[in-house]
């Protein structure tokens, strides 16, 4: 049963992608319907799979001695991420029914989105490292295709290429680690790596650990690879919600969580993970304080929250990071889709031109506020519980100064969240903007996500049990939701954090009253150069582009030179043979 569900979860979106492409752009209604049907079916299959989670591989196809076995392992980590990916995927597709109405290249859009959903589920379900890499690359490709979807816009194309190149740096890290693991272990299976990690030579294990960390940091837009995510906001909003908030960027977190037992004792690794998470969380929060583009604020907040998840793994609690991942996926997707409604309505992303929209879009305003409060960590909403859990874990396991920095981050989060709400919905209308209310597909997705934001925190007990029972190498304590609630509410640290959140809100309220929410003074130039790291990322992107241009000279298109190339290859093979014969 689990085997069939695994196959369905991966193949249904892919079949849907093919079906949408075959339906052709002349029949947009058919394309919308097919996309929704296939993504919802995949979501149902993944929810059913939640019940069948097991730590044994359910599909095992031998691929010969070179590639090992193609296995899919639906353990707790995999099925929870699969469920998130497909459920939020289907909601984003439903939202796209209205957001992308009238677009001329609908086939390409839905194809990429559905192809992506299937690849993401394959990534987390795969038990063979080589196939994890394969699916990883497919998600990078779809992400590039969707960021540059409006390919007449040079900014979109530039953003897409930047995202592609930087995430590919991560892909190289993943591949290098995989190959080193293969030479040391003789197998590509993830379970083999987890079981025998202590038997590996220390240098190899350290290499694998750090190259996977680089892969995760690049994919999840963590320091120092964090600058591609804000520029990726040129994508259509459902894409931002799906890929850059709820699923693809979680692939890095998944990688760290999956291999945590193998790497936790590598000297320096946990500290590096801690630092990467903490620095990302802080820089991103600071950057969000002065951003004027609505989606950019959300992008920075994504980087920041992912930083919290990475930090949680560094502190030793995979459960806390996965719990925050679950909650974050819901409220962040909600925020992105709500922002998408606003942007679709008023036609601009610049917050300086918005303002006073509260009366005109009541439904969107309400769900947006719900999502934002969850982001800030207000009690009852889901963000509060998981953030508190992370801070609780960090108080026990991490150095105090980092913990204090993370607390400061919480305050900053509250500040920029309130700023965002105020600038968009309250205050005076700064510009005469046309608006129109959201239609029912948009409202449907937003409503479900809002309900989720109120309730997903209740799943903690189920999540911990799922993870503990199916992840044999991780050390996960089972705790029920009630235990979590009592533990958090009785800890003084929780109340302290709430005070900080309140302070953040208060400072922002004061500034908002004085209309001093723009202009960051000394902060803005720092943010614009991404705290100096924009130059690193620009250097990488420029280096790749210029070397590609230079290598173009070898593609002469002339027959004789092509034949020369063939002979060059033949010569190389002969030299290798000759050296072997000697």
């Amino acid at each position: 049963m689990a085997g069939i569900l695994v196959v369905l979860v991966i193949l249904l979106p892919w079949v849907g992608a093919l079906a949408v492409w075959l339906a052709q752009n002349r029949q947009p209604k058919l394309q919308h319907t097919l996309a929704v049907i296939f993504s919802v079916l995949a979501a149902l299959a993944s929810i059913l799979l939640l019940g069948d989670a097991t730590s044994d591989p359910v599909i095992q196809i031998s691929l010969g001695s070179a590639f090992g076995e193609l296995t899919f392992v639906p353990d707790g980590l995999a099925v929870s991420l699969t469920a998130i990916a497909t459920v939020i995927g289907s909601l984003a597709v439903i939202f796209s029914m209205e957001y992308m109405r009238g677009d001329e290249q609908l086939g390409r859009y839905y194809f990429l989105v559905l192809f992506f959903i299937g690849a993401m589920t394959g990534l987390v379900l795969s038990g063979n490292l080589l196939f994890t890499f394969f699916f990883w690359e497919i998600t990078a490709l779809c992400s590039y295709g969707l960021i540059s979807f409006y390919n007449d816009d040079p900014k979109a194309v530039a953003g897409g290429i930047k995202a592609l190149i930087i995430t590919q740096v991560g892909g190289v890290g993943l591949l290098a680690g995989t190959l080193v693991a293969f030479t040391a272990l003789g197998s590509f299976q993830i379970s083999d790596l987890l079981a025998n990690s202590s038997a590996l030579p220390a240098a190899s294990l350290a290499f694998i650990a750090f190259s996977f960390l680089i892969a995760a940091a690049a994919k999840s837009a963590q320091f120092p690879f964090h600058s591609w995510l804000p520029d990726a906001m040129e994508a259509p909003s459902p894409v931002s919600a799906l890929i850059h908030a709820a699923t693809m960027v979680n692939a890095g977190i998944y990688l760290l969580a999956r291999f945590y037992p193998a790497f936790e004792f590598v000297p320096g690794w946990r500290t590096s993970v801690l630092l990467v998470g903490a620095i990302s969380a802080l820089i991103a929060s600071l950057s969000a304080l002065v951003a004027t583009d609505l989606k950019r604020v959300l992008a920075y907040s994504t980087v920041s929250q992912l930083g919290y998840m990475v930090y949680a793994i560094g502190s030793g609690s995979v459960l806390a990071s996965q719990y925050h991942l679950l909650n974050h996926a819901f409220f962040k997707a909600l925020l992105f889709l709500a922002a998408g409604s606003v942007i679709h309505s008023v036609g601009t992303r610049d917050m300086r031109r918005m303002g006073g929209l509260r009366g005109k879009m009541p439904f969107v305003r309400n769900v947006f506020i719900i999502g934002a409060l969850a982001l800030a960590g207000v009690p009852i909403l889901n963000g509060f519980w998981s953030k508190e859990l992370i801070l609780e874990v960090s108080l026990e396991n991490s150095p105090l100064w980092i913990h204090v920095l993370m607390l400061a981050g919480v305050g900053l989060t509250a500040f920029y969240t309130f700023r965002m709400i105020w600038l968009v919905f309250f205050g005076q209308e700064r510009d005469a903007l046309h608006y129109h209310p959201a239609g029912s597909p948009m409202k449907f997705s937003l409503a479900i996500l809002a309900v989720g934001t109120f309730t997903t925190w209740l799943l903690f007990g189920g999540l911990s049990e799922l993870l503990a029972s199916t992840l044999p190498y991780h050390d996960i304590e089972v705790a029920s939701t009630a235990e979590l609630v009592t533990a958090l509410l009785s800890a003084p640290a929780t109340w302290f954090t709430l005070v900080i959140v309140a302070v953040g809100f208060a400072i922002c309220w004061v500034r908002a009253r004085g209309y001093r929410l723009f202009g960051g003074g000394w902060l803005t130039p720092l943010v614009e150069s991404s705290f100096g790291f924009e130059s690193l990322n620009q250097w990488i992107v420029r280096g790749v582009s210029t070397s590609a241009e230079r290598l173009r000279a070898t593609q002469t298109g002339e027959l004789n030179w092509n034949i020369f190339g063939i002979f060059g290859g033949l010569l190389l093979v002969l030299i290798i043979l000759w050296l072997g014969v000697k």
Binding site: E558, N560, W561, F564, F567, L571, L574, W578, V581
Partner: protein
């Protein structure tokens, strides 16, 4: 004695091949090609493969050569010999390296002598490799179709000069 015969045949073949490549007129190249075919056919006969030698002579020296001459007559034999795209010394060097390496590594191969059952051509072709025969038939069909399709394309109006 055998070695000398083979050696002479091959020297002739290589000489003619070189002349065919560097000749300015294509028609003289076709004649050289026919000579190479004859010499190679002789080598094949001396190796014991009489049937293939006959095929080589009749098909390649006959059919393909005649086709070449026909094509040249249709196209027109303009004697142009532009300098080659790949610089000649570079070509010599890389081909020389390949030949030397190949010769050096493959040289001991001839002393590997293993007795397998010997079959005649008739048995091999029509029984054990009968799939090859079907493939050849399919190839001939597709080749004929291809040629018919290619040659029946009408030129669009006047001959368009290609603008590079």
């Amino acid at each position: 004695m055998e070695s000398i015969t083979f050696g002479l045949f091959f020297l002739g073949a290589i000489f003619f091949a070189y002349r065919a490549i560097v000749s300015k007129r294509i028609l003289s190249a076709t004649i050289y090609l026919a000579c190479i075919s004859a010499l190679v056919s002789a080598v094949l006969y001396r190796l014991g493969a009489a049937e293939v030698a006959v095929m080589e002579l009749s098909v390649v020296a006959g059919l393909v050569n005649v086709l070449l001459v026909y094509a040249v007559s249709v196209v027109g034999d303009d004697a142009f010999d532009p300098p080659s795209v790949v610089p000649k010394p570079l070509a010599f060097v890389i081909v020389g390296l390949i030949v030397v390496l190949l010769g050096w590594t493959a040289f001991p191969a001839v002393s590997v002598y293993f007795e397998r059952g010997s079959t005649t051509l008739a048995v091999a072709l029509w029984q054990s490799r009968v799939l090859d025969v079907w493939i050849q038939i399919a190839l001939i069909f597709s080749g004929v179709m291809g040629v018919l399709g290619l040659l029946s394309e009408k030129t669009p109006g006047k001959t368009e000069e290609f603008q590079p």
